[in-house]
């Protein structure tokens, strides 16, 4: 039971959460005492059944990966160049260089992935594009799309193409994406005055018109469209209106919210990350609006369907191929990892089709998924799993919960409450700063450490 059952204070109630048992319950203080001391009376049937469940062996404890690398998808960065100069860019677009992946290399990588997928008995051939702006290297993407489909047909696999993109290109490109891609994550920060302040082209002009046009085209296509919204202090209080407008105008499949990662560019532009408590509250109400419209609200760190040791590519055996043919576990530029003392490079891929991976590098990257002391007693350890390994859970990171931890804990708690039908309790929580702090700043959620419930 140790490390797998948590209790979280929500105003005058307690959330009992056992993620590995897929169980949660809302109880009172006395119940927490009984659970913690294993003093539940049999006649308290519901509580007894919960106690029995949380004391049983969990069906499966996620473990860091072992053995041969088993990537779920092939990540391709056709270029790190970009046609935008977003103030908060952490992908080095401004100084990312203009190198474009060699077509032959990209095709060889697809062939390798197809053979790997077939060998493992997978049903799909998954290729994801990242950047820079992947469609800035449109020719390479075009070739990869067709090669992926060709080799998938040959091997009896279902091709699945996904891209993270800024949406700034002509209608023809947008239609191509809509025709051929299964899923698109489109960076779209909301109303023109917000979006254009942050996401302008190289010539300084705003990109809203182009992105909105792309969004319209993609929303009428078979591709699953997800908007990625960067939330900073300038738009956190307008999330509800933004979401409402998105749903009315575009009806995306999902809206994913990410809080601003501080960069020098963002600071110069006067942008700061939002207050995490405000963000959690605004996410909650905006999420409700989205759900009512049939649009899925998403905060990646709070996704709980499957317990995991990592929610980012790192630690999940992801293989991401850079324009130069280097294979790494992360799509951020190397200098970002290096600034954290990390080496996420795992090898190289050759145009002859050889995936040359360094076994020690693989083990080093995999071990990052396990080494998160800050997360050990946090009820989000099997969902958030420490967040981004470069920005959040890098070795030597401060042990105290930071803003990311605070908002993640609050959002996850509210999501648990919603599942239990306790929406009004979630609303009250998010209206009460001291209650939020009591929840968010609690250093240990482990049931065995629960002292406050005593007496």
């Amino acid at each position: 039971m140790a490390g797998s059952v948590f209790v979280i204070p929500v105003l005058d109630r307690w959330l009992v959460y056992a993620p590995l048992h897929h169980a949660s319950a809302l109880v009172n203080r006395a119940a927490v005492c009984r659970l913690s001391e294993d003093r539940v009376q049999p006649e308290q049937e519901d509580l007894a059944s919960l106690s029995s469940l949380i004391r049983s062996e969990p069906p499966g404890v996620p473990q860091p990966r072992e053995g041969l690398v088993s990537p779920q998808f092939l990540g391709l960065i056709p270029t790190r160049a970009c046609n935008l100069r977003c103030v908060y860019c952490g992908f080095g677009a401004a100084d990312g260089g203009c190198e474009v992946m060699d077509m032959a290399l990209a095709v060889a990588a697809v062939d390798w992935m197809a053979a790997d997928a077939q060998r493992r008995g997978r049903a799909t051939l998954d290729v994801h594009f990242f950047g820079g702006e992947p469609f800035f290297a449109r020719d390479v993407v075009e070739v990869v799309v067709h090669r992926t489909r060709a080799v998938a047909a040959e091997k009896g696999l279902v091709p699945r193409l996904e891209a993270a993109t800024n949406g700034v290109y002509d209608e023809d490109c947008a239609r191509f994406i809509g025709d051929y891609f299964e899923a698109v994550v489109l960076s779209f920060d909301g109303f023109p005055q917000v979006h254009d302040r942050r996401r302008s082209a190289v010539n300084g002009r705003g990109s809203f018109e182009a992105v909105a046009r792309t969004a319209r085209i993609l929303s009428q296509s078979p591709a699953e469209l997800c908007f990625r919204v960067c939330v900073a202090d300038d738009n956190v209080d307008h999330l509800a209106e933004t979401v409402s407008w998105f749903c009315r105008q575009f009806q995306p499949a999902a809206i994913d919210f990410e809080t601003l990662q501080p960069t020098s560019g963002a600071e110069e532009a006067g942008l700061r990350p939002p207050d995490p408590y405000r963000f959690a509250a605004q996410f909650h109400s905006a999420g409700r609006i989205a759900s009512d419209q049939g649009v899925r609200p998403s905060y990646a760190a709070a996704l709980r369907e499957t317990p995991r040791t990592s929610f980012c590519p790192v630690g999940n055996d992801t293989l991401i191929l850079s324009p130069e043919g280097r294979v790494s576990a992360c799509y951020l530029p190397k200098q970002e990892w290096q600034a954290r003392g990390l080496d996420l490079e795992m090898g190289r891929f050759t145009v002859q089709g050889a995936m040359e991976l360094d076994r020690r590098a693989i083990e080093r990257v995999r071990s990052l998924a396990a080494a998160k002391p800050r997360c050990a007693k946090c009820f989000c350890r099997w969902s958030c799993a420490g967040g981004c390994h470069v920005n959040q859970s890098f070795p030597g990171c401060p042990q105290a919960y930071n803003d990311f931890c605070i908002q993640t804990r609050l959002i996850t708690a509210c999501s648990l409450l919603a599942e239990l039908g306790a929406d009004s309790l979630a609303d009250r929580l998010l209206d009460d700063r001291s209650a939020m702090e009591a929840l968010a700043l609690r250093t240990s959620d482990a049931l065995e450490d629960c002292e406050e419930a005593d007496g």
Binding site: Q220, P222, G294
Partner: protein, 320 residues
């Protein structure tokens, strides 16, 4: 069947309406009689009157009499906001020969007076009235209809429709990528409907693959029941032109034939649009077993047209 649209006047403004027309037109009495001649010549025994809102036609009661006096059965497609003479006319029509399908608005999507108007009509028509619902967004749920049927003593049947796109995509419609989500929801609802003795009917455009595995078997519906609904309905417009169906209306129309029947017209429309049939609403349609075995036509043709691409490209190659 053939649908006769006797007017394009309407007293609602549904975002998903595919029958909108800028030019107001009521079908004249001679045009209506000619339409009925066509229906009878075609061996059909039921006339379906549509709009706009058909009960707004100034000669609506006379049209009803004309249908019934020919020994034909009548089905009216209405939004339930009827003028009093129309309601009285329908109340007095023989219940075994005249029925009304009322397409109700989703709660919150109409004004309070419209909601009251619909309920009032439903209450008066009772078992003559069947409820219909057009699903135009993945959030549209039919659950509230069961309460209406129970409370107002309506016919224990619900006709479900998908809001289809006009070819020019000027109306709100349910994009095929939401079909599976909708199918999942309907499969859940079907259980509740069955428990209350309410039957579900599916309009054209539904496809077997949108439902979870096993649902069709449980519901006693075959794949081809659902999958082959898309075919020329024959909609007679207020100006007597005949179209394949409303979503495809802008592509082709023909006059009511003087001597030929509906089967002849359907063959003409089938031939006209046959080149489109191989395309389906999903990328997977081309390789689908149900398609290959003739149990599914690939969904709504107008929706499939949304996937069509055209480009007048030209390229020069060295010759020899």
């Amino acid at each position: 069947m053939a649908n006769i649209s006797i007017t394009n006047a309407c007293n609602r403004d549904c975002s998903y309406c595919f029958a909108r027309s800028p030019a107001p037109r009521n079908m004249t009495i001679p045009e209506f009689e000619r339409s009925l001649d066509f229906v009878q010549r075609s061996g059909m025994d039921q006339v379906r009157l549509l709009g706009g809102e058909p009960t707004l036609h100034p000669d609506f009661p006379r049209f009803v009499d004309s249908v019934l006096s020919r020994g034909l059965r009548l089905l009216i497609f209405s939004n339930g906001l009827m003028p009093e003479p129309a309601v009285r006319c329908l109340e007095s029509a023989p219940a075994d020969r005249a029925a009304v399908l009322i397409n109700v608005a989703v709660p919150g999507e109409c004004r309070p007076e419209e909601d009251l108007g619909q309920r009032s009509t439903l209450r008066r028509l009772g078992r003559r009235a069947t409820l219909g619902l057009n699903i135009y967004a993945p959030t549209v749920r039919p659950d509230f209809l069961l309460g209406l049927i129970r409370d107002l003593g309506l016919s224990p049947c619900i006709r479900l429709g998908l809001a289809h796109c006009r070819v020019d995509q000027t109306n709100r419609f349910l994009h095929p990528r939401y079909y599976r989500v909708v199918g999942q929801g309907l499969a859940g609802f079907a259980g509740a409907a069955r428990a209350e003795g309410v039957a579900l009917e599916f309009d054209c455009g539904f496809v077997p693959c949108m439902f979870p595995p096993g649902f069709l078997d449980t519901a006693g519906i075959t794949a081809s029941d659902i999958g082959l609904r898309c075919s020329p309905l024959l909609d007679v417009l207020p100006d007597s032109r005949v179209v394949c169906c409303y979503p495809l209306a802008s592509l082709h129309c023909e006059p009511i034939p003087e001597h030929h029947d509906a089967a002849w017209m359907r063959n003409r429309f089938e031939a006209r649009f046959s080149w489109l049939r191989p395309a389906g609403i999903f990328r997977e349609c081309a390789g689908c077993g149900l398609r290959a075995s003739g149990q599914c036509a690939g969904g709504c043709l107008a929706a499939a047209m949304g996937r069509l691409r055209r480009a007048p490209f030209a390229v020069s190659l060295p010759n020899g």
